[in-house]
Every structure is written in C-alpha cells, then in structure tokens.
C-alpha cells in the first residue's frame, strides 16, 4: 500500500520535533505501523526518502526493535509477559491458554486478523504479575480465565478497559500514540491502583510520614 500524503505530512511533523532529522526514525516507524499495521517496504522507503538515508539503514533499525513487526499484526495485539517473574507466577499458563484459544503462536495473527499474540519480555509491572498487554495497554494480574475473558469480550466487540490506562482501542491506535504521545487520553481510566498505593496507604494507616522541610527526624 502506498504511504498516504497524510501520513507523510505527519512524518514531517515528527521530523520537526528534533534538532537532527534522523532522531525521528523510531516514532516515524511507529507511525508507519499505525497506518499499515506493520512495517512495510513502502513504509521503509518513505522513511528513508524523508530522512535522506538508505533503505538498508531503516531496515537495520526496524529489525532491531521488537515492537516493529514484519508481518501483519491483529487488530488487537496481545502480549503476555513470560519473563521469569511473570512467567513463573502464572504468565506461562496465561500464554498457553491464549495460544490455545486463539490458535496462534508467538508473533502470529489469527486467521480473521482480529488478534495476534506475542511472548513479551518484562513490562515493568512485576508488582502486577502476571502481566498481559492488549495493544500495549496494561492488563494486570491476569489469570488464564481472565485473559481469555478479555479476548472473548474484545472478539464480541465489547468495550474493555485497561487495568491501568484507557479503554482498549486497537493496535494501530496505540502505534499512533507512540508517534504522537499527547493523545488526550491521559484522563481516561485509572492509572493508579491499589498496588501502586500499597505503601502510601500502609503509611497513612500507621501514621508514617517523611519528615517535612524544617522538621528534623
């Protein structure tokens, strides 16, 4: 598919953020994925053209980072952390359950293009293990059954909220956020949960506080 003039215009906007144009490449490739659902040859050529670098240079970058996909991703891209902590605390079982349910393996899309599945590395949410992501939004503290429930509801077209973040949109929408992060969704959903407040609440309940300024311990 040819890269649209609108996408090219957005690429120029990204380039304009940086003192040196090549810095725009990572967000530009996210933008390509937001339009194409993967990093296509046309997307690589468009980035190379705009930045005045070779297609090999763009390909070297696009194949280095795991978020850039070389084949179509599902409408929803599901990640399950299988790094040690999440995996052993149940992520392995979550992944297996989803793999069976969707009938796909690592980095594979379902035949209907609705979902794709990925074994992902640590998502910086170990306190919320096992962690799943839908279109890279957090689905914390999942179990095999809760994970399947999320997928089923998405399949039925129901709205699903991220456990710490906005309502799930789709893979392409998230990729657009990665290119243009100020997406206006910062107020959607809840981003601070019980686990993030565990210490603060404990402190409050037990009258613990840091000494304020001028107040020596």
């Amino acid at each position: 598919m040819a890269i649209s003039e609108q996408t090219l215009e957005s690429m120029r906007d990204i380039v304009a953020r940086y003192p040196q144009s090549r810095s725009a490449l990572l967000p530009m490739l996210h933008l390509v994925q937001s339009a194409e659902g993967e990093v296509t040859a046309e997307g690589i050529a468009a980035c190379a053209d705009m930045l005045g670098i070779s297609k090999a240079e763009v390909t070297g970058v696009s194949t280095f980072y795991t978020m850039y996909k070389r084949k179509p991703v599902g409408e929803h891209h599901i990640g399950v952390c299988v790094n040690t902590l999440c995996g052993l605390l149940g992520g392995d079982a979550v992944y297996e359950a989803l793999s069976q349910r969707l009938g796909v393996g690592h980095n594979e899309p379902t035949a209907d293009g609705k979902f794709s599945l990925e074994r992902i590395e640590c998502q910086a949410a170990c306190t919320h293990a096992p962690v799943m992501t839908v279109d890279w939004e957090f689905m914390d503290d999942v179990t095999p059954s809760s994970a399947i429930d999320v997928v089923d509801r998405l399949a039925r077209g129901e709205q699903v909220a991220s456990t710490r973040g906005p309502a799930i949109r789709n893979f392409k929408a998230t990729e657009y956020t990665l290119a243009f992060p100020d997406d206006g969704l910062e107020g959607d959903g809840n981003s601070v949960d019980d686990k993030m407040l565990a210490g603060l609440r404990y402190a409050k309940e037990h009258n613990m506080a840091a000494p304020q300024f001028g107040q020596e311990a």
């Binding site: 590395e121 992060p181 910062e186 210490g199 000494p211 020596e216």
Partner: protein, 434 residues
C-alpha cells in the same frame, strides 16, 4: 524503619497527573526557587546531597552533572532514561503514570542546572500509558509557560520532547539509548568519549533515570540537610521500592535507603503460604540473587556490594520455595539472549551458548560437567563484553550455583517441572490444574 512517602506522597490524589493537581501540593515551587539560583549552585547542592543514580549503577548524580563542560559553546542536552526494562524493575513506569509532573519539574530544574535548552524523555515504547501521561504533562506545562521561551521570566528557554522507544532492553544502557534516540540501532557506544563530553549529537549530555530526576525538586526545595536525614552516609535519601513476587501484598513502598528486606516484606504482607523466602534479588535480574540469610541486610549500595550483590534498581523480587532456580535462571538467560544487541562477541555468542546449555538442564538432560563449562563461559563474558548487558547475563547463573548447586545437579536426572510443579508457583488463587 518506617515508610517515608515523598515522591509517592500524593499518589492517592485522583488528579495528581494534572498541573492543577500537582500544584495543589506545592508542585513547581522548587522550579520557581531553582530559577532564581545560580545553576552551579544547584549542581553543588545535588552533589552535596549525595544523591546517587536510581537506574541501577548508583553513580553520584551531582558528580555526573559536573562533568559537563560549561561555556563550551555547544548545545547541552538532558536525556531522561525512562526505558525501564530490567526484569523486576517496575518503579519508573508507576512514577510516570501517577505523577508525571514531578518528572517534568525535575527535568526543567536539571536542564537549567546543566544549561540544556533541549531535553528528551526516552520512554520505552511498550508502555503507552506512561508515555501519554508524561506527554500530556509536558504539554500542560508548556501551556502554563513552564516550558518554552523565557520560563517564568528567568530568561531560561527549554523544550522537552517525549520520545517513544520500540522494544529493546539494551536501550536502557545510556549510550545505546543515545544511539536509539538518534534514530540508530540501539547499540552501545565506545567510551571515551563519555556522554558528558560527547553524547547526543556529539554534544555534552546528561542521562539520568526517572526516579533520580524526581528527587531533584525535593532536594532543591527542601535542601541537603533535609535529604541527608534519610538513608546512610554513602546511600542518602529515600527510594521507591517495588516489591514483587510471592508476597501477599506486592506493590510500591517508599522508604529510606537502609531499610531491610525483612522490613519491606513486612509492609508487603509477608511471603505467601509458609512465609519462607527461597531466593530474592534486591534490584533486577542483573544483580546476583540472595537467600533468606540476607533478609536483614540494610538495602544500601554499600551493604549490597559487601554481600556480593548490588542494589540495582531497588525493586526486590521475592521467590518462594515453589520456584525452580534452574528454571528462573534459564528464563533470565533467555531474556538476555533475546536482548543482546549483537555488537560484541562475548555477549552475542555467550548468551546463545549458555542459554542452550541451561535449557538442557531445565529439560532434565544437563550434564554435571557442564556446570563448570557454564561457569567458565560466564567468566568469558563477564568483564569482557562491550557493555554491562554481558556482565548482567553472566550474573544469574554463578550466583544461583553458589546457593543451589544441588538443584542443578538434580536437573541432570529429570526435568525441573517434575520436581517443581509449575502450578505451585502461580500467584493467583485456585490456579487451574494442568
């Protein structure tokens, strides 16, 4: 030791992520104060505070800033390392989601101190919700005149770009992050030159971790003496501890450096079940694991080093006795193999080799003689790879072997899943039977 919420103090305020919500608790007061100071005085204050980098290495922050040459005629850059990807580390992402303005305020003050008029916040791409929170905070701050030209009438100009990564653990290595930010493959750079002299775009650059930067407004606002009442002489200050694993109440706990793991476990509701810790890691998979005998050590840079490990990111992972250490270590090595950037031979080939051999143990057909081979291969990586990723990859196995040799020997007889039912280690209640 008590909990001391500072960075996390107002996280329960629902609109803290907005400018108004942040200002309600004195937000940007430190900035107003800072802009009236001599930038060098801020550097001195941070130096005197003894603040050490919270990204894992613990390098003194003020010292790092002081390496930036001044009046060199080159643009200076501040780059915030928000690429939190270390297995076990989960404190920067929560900070950015809960209180993005504290990061933004820290960025503005730090940029002012090091005379940078352009800052970048490099956030790993897999966490869009942290990205949008910070981007929104930056946009709000810009609208309020806290970013842009002539900030609060000080004559200081600053632009902040929020930049998304794309999935590469190595970009947490500061020079790899710079290459990535320049639109290249995220592979580490040869040093010297060091980033403070020739970093981003070959200009002087300071790279700091999110939590480190979030400390800055408090230090500037409340002073060195206030800051130093937390922690120890060599590890001053407070820390956002993220306790994960087989504990009853995993989560974020802010307390001074020097608190013990046992104390933190207490706040986190203790280890589930019989309460026994099998092994734990103070800060990420890249630091050598410890056992129950180490629970009473103060969590400081110096005490952890003395115990043969490192404080790392200060995000302890706790594993109980249901966990096979062989499986845990194998999984970490699979991670390092996956994340090795490929630049240097020891890391690229060593992680490939070691992971393959460890997998033979996990599947129950390891050879006992291979344990020495693995130690030798780790020694061939450690200290010889291009960057710390190789060193990190060479860390889990020798540490595990030190305390759990028998388990590896047992893994020459039968697959680890036979001895350690995977279901037993699942955290959720009523885990499905296999």
């Amino acid at each position: 030791m008590t909990l001391t919420p500072v960075i996390t103090e107002h996280w329960d305020s629902p609109d803290l992520y907005t400018l108004d919500g942040y200002r309600r608790f004195g937000g940007y007061r430190a900035l107003e104060k800072a802009l009236k100071l001599d930038p060098d005085a801020i550097i001195t204050t941070v130096k005197d505070s003894g603040l050490r980098g919270r990204g894992g290495a613990g390098f003194p922050t003020g010292l790092k800033w002081s390496f930036v040459p001044q009046n060199d005629g080159k643009p200076h850059y501040l780059v915030v390392n928000a690429d939190e990807s270390e297995p076990g580390a989960c404190k920067d992402i929560p900070i950015m989601m809960a209180n993005p303005h504290s990061l933004v305020e820290g960025v503005i003050i730090t940029s002012f101190a090091i005379r940078a008029s352009q800052a970048f916040i490099y956030i790993r791409g897999e966490v869009p919700n942290a990205l949008r929170k910070v981007a929104s905070a930056v946009a709000e701050a810009r609208r309020a005149g806290l970013i842009g030209k002539n900030i609060l009438g000080s004559g200081f100009d600053l632009e902040i770009v929020v930049h998304a990564g794309a999935g590469a653990y190595i970009c947490g290595e500061e020079t790899a992050l710079l290459d990535s930010l320049e639109g290249l493959r995220g592979q580490p750079r040869l040093k010297p030159p060091f980033p403070a002299v020739a970093g981003l775009y070959a200009s002087p650059t300071v790279i700091n971790n999110v939590e480190t930067i979030c400390n800055i407004p408090y230090i500037v606002d409340r002073g060195v003496d206030w800051f130093r009442q937390f922690g120890t002489e060599k590890s001053p200050g407070f820390k956002v501890w993220a306790v994960s694993g087989h504990v009853n109440n995993p989560g974020i706990f802010e307390a001074p450096l020097g608190i013990t793991m046992r104390e933190l476990l207490g706040y986190a509701g203790g280890v589930r079940g019989d309460g026994k810790v099998k092994f734990w890691l103070p800060g990420g998979s890249s630091v050598p694991l410890l056992t129950a005998e180490h629970l009473d050590l103060p969590l400081t840079y110096e005490e952890m080093a003395a115990a043969g490990t490192m404080l790392g990111t200060g995000t302890p992972m706790i594993f109980d006795e249901t966990v096979s250490v062989v499986k845990a270590v194998t999984r970490w090595l699979e991670f390092y193999k996956h994340e090795s950037c490929g630049k240097c031979t020891p890391c690229r080939e060593g992680t490939f080799w070691i992971t393959g051999v460890l997998e033979t143990f996990e599947h129950g057909h390891g050879k006992e003689s291979d344990l020495e081979l693995l130690v030798s291969a780790c020694n061939q990586i450690s200290g010889r790879s291009f960057c710390a990723l190789g060193d990190a990859a060479a860390t889990p196995f020798p540490a595990a072997l030190k305390y759990f040799r028998d388990e590896f020997v047992a893994a020459t007889e039968s697959p680890v899943d036979e001895k350690f039912d995977p279901v037993a280690s699942y955290i959720y209640a009523g885990a499905a039977t296999r």
